[in-house]
Amino acid sequence: MNKGIYPALSGGVAYEKLLSIIANNVANINTAGYKADRPVFKVDVPDNINVTTLPYPVSDKFYTEIDSVFTDFNTGVIRQTGNVLDLAIEGDGFFVIDTPDGPRYTRSGNFVLDASNALTTVDGHMVMGEGGPVILEEGRIAVDAEGRVSVDGSEINKIKIVDFGKPYLLQKDQNNMFSGSGEETAAGYKVLQGAVELSNVNSVKEMAAMISVLRGYESYQKVMTTLDEASAKANEVGRV
């Protein structure tokens, strides 16, 4: 049996996972504030490799796997909606959402009001301001570029925007939210009222990725088939 089949198999398995990641990106191509996931591949070589003393061929110990998946935090297209409670952040930063599991962070600003007049996500989790939850009063609601919320001209709260020194350590939670620690005060952002940030998934990129996954997977299959045929030939050696 040719052991070279295992590295090819590991590649195929990794590519199946990769397709899941791409599929999740395209499933969320219309999800406001969604951030695309991108994989990093690695080739594993056994530690302390010593080719001279190895009792087996080296090739079967090399294998491919997904090393990590990182989130592409590039800003998505900001779309004007004219909806008073839609907020988008231009620049770095996240909205802070109060959930039963602790603070969560999101870029998805399609907020609503709940029965107690608090600004919440569509799931009903409260949006945090510098001075606690943002409870709106009746009147004309305006949010300025700094995130200050005013009703009929008088300021009532300021939307809390935080940033992370190490955004790559943020974990994706469901419902467009991220969890993590080490929040810092954001700077250089601009809050836009009446706009939402769309998903940053790029359909052309994802299509290209799908093509490369499919063809790559085919190549792995060809390698496996070829090795299989070679083994078959080997089994024929000595036949009279």
């Binding site: 599929a23 395209v26 969320n28 996931d37 997904i66 990590s68 998946v69 709940d114 469901q174």
Partner: protein, 262 residues
């Protein structure tokens, strides 16, 4: 089986719903008092294969973990209560609300329904009713000898009766408002009913703090914008398409896998 198949299926389902919502908006582009809806979507839970920040074997920290998502779900179909355009109809019983608030009508089951569609009529006994015959709450009866009906901005209804040169006040319109109109339940027929999410109705007169004023002889047109909906439709259709491509890719990969052994 490839997980991608199921993930893309959630994407196709979500876009299908998106197109349904857009179709309903477009179907009601000419419905007075109609408020458009918007689908809000969220990503589904993630399978964390490896935590970011976890210590790696060689004593360093893993800078980015592996999280694989499982698709998308519709989180809410949100009604957008922006003001529609005013249509001048010159019809005395066509009323539009300029600003916040809903007309109250009493439904056949006795409950109060709320509407922005103000094309009222008279029934056989002179009561002000909606096109479905539901009476306006509080009930207003227009005398049969009325020759002119006028509704002021603050909702006072007065009529001129034959043989009487001074207008007679016959009632006042009352409006209701909700802290979260998006939480209202749509009943169809332009009617909404309150839910726990919308909060209780607060009633008041037109022109009171927080309430809009009444414009007589106008109807509030639907707030659906055709161009915007068509753009949404294109986006929805293309998103549906790319999800189907992901399914196709998964399908072809499975075929490829099946070809490993001949």
């Amino acid at each position: 089986m490839l997980r991608a198949l199921y993930i893309s299926a959630t994407g196709m389902e979500a876009q299908q719903l998106n197109i349904d919502i857009i179709s309903n908006n477009l179907a009601n582009v000419n419905t007075a008092g109609f408020k458009k809806s918007r689908g809000d979507f969220q990503d589904l839970l993630y399978q964390t294969v490896r935590m970011a920040g976890a210590p790696s074997g060689s004593g360093t920290q893993v800078p980015a973990g592996i999280q694989i998502g499982s698709g998308v779900r519709p989180a809410a179909v949100q009604k957008i209560f922006t003001q529609g355009d005013f249509q001048n109809t010159q019809n005395a019983l066509d009323l539009a609300i300029e600003g916040e608030g809903f007309f109250q009508v009493s439904m056949p089951d006795g409950a109060i329904g709320y509407t922005r569609g103000g094309s009222f009529k008279k029934d056989s006994s002179g009561r002000m009713v909606t096109s479905d015959g539901y009476t306006v709450e509080p009930s207003i009866t227009i005398p049969s000898d009325a020759i002119n009906i006028s509704v002021s901005a603050n909702g006072t209804i007065s009529v001129l009766q034959a043989g009487n040169p001074t207008p007679v006040e016959i009632g006042t319109m009352q409006l209701a408002r909700f802290s979260n109109p998006s939480g209202l339940n749509s009943l169809g027929r332009n009617l909404f009913i309150p839910t726990a999410a919308s909060g209780e109705a607060q009633t008041g007169g037109p022109g009171d703090a927080g309430f809009g004023t009444i414009a007589q002889g106008f109807l509030e047109a639907s707030n659906v914008n055709i161009a915007e909906e068509l753009v949404n439709m294109i986006i929805g259709q293309r998103a549906y398409e790319i999800n189907s491509k992901a399914i196709q890719t998964a399908d072809e990969m499975m075929r490829t896998a099946n070809e490993v052994k001949r």
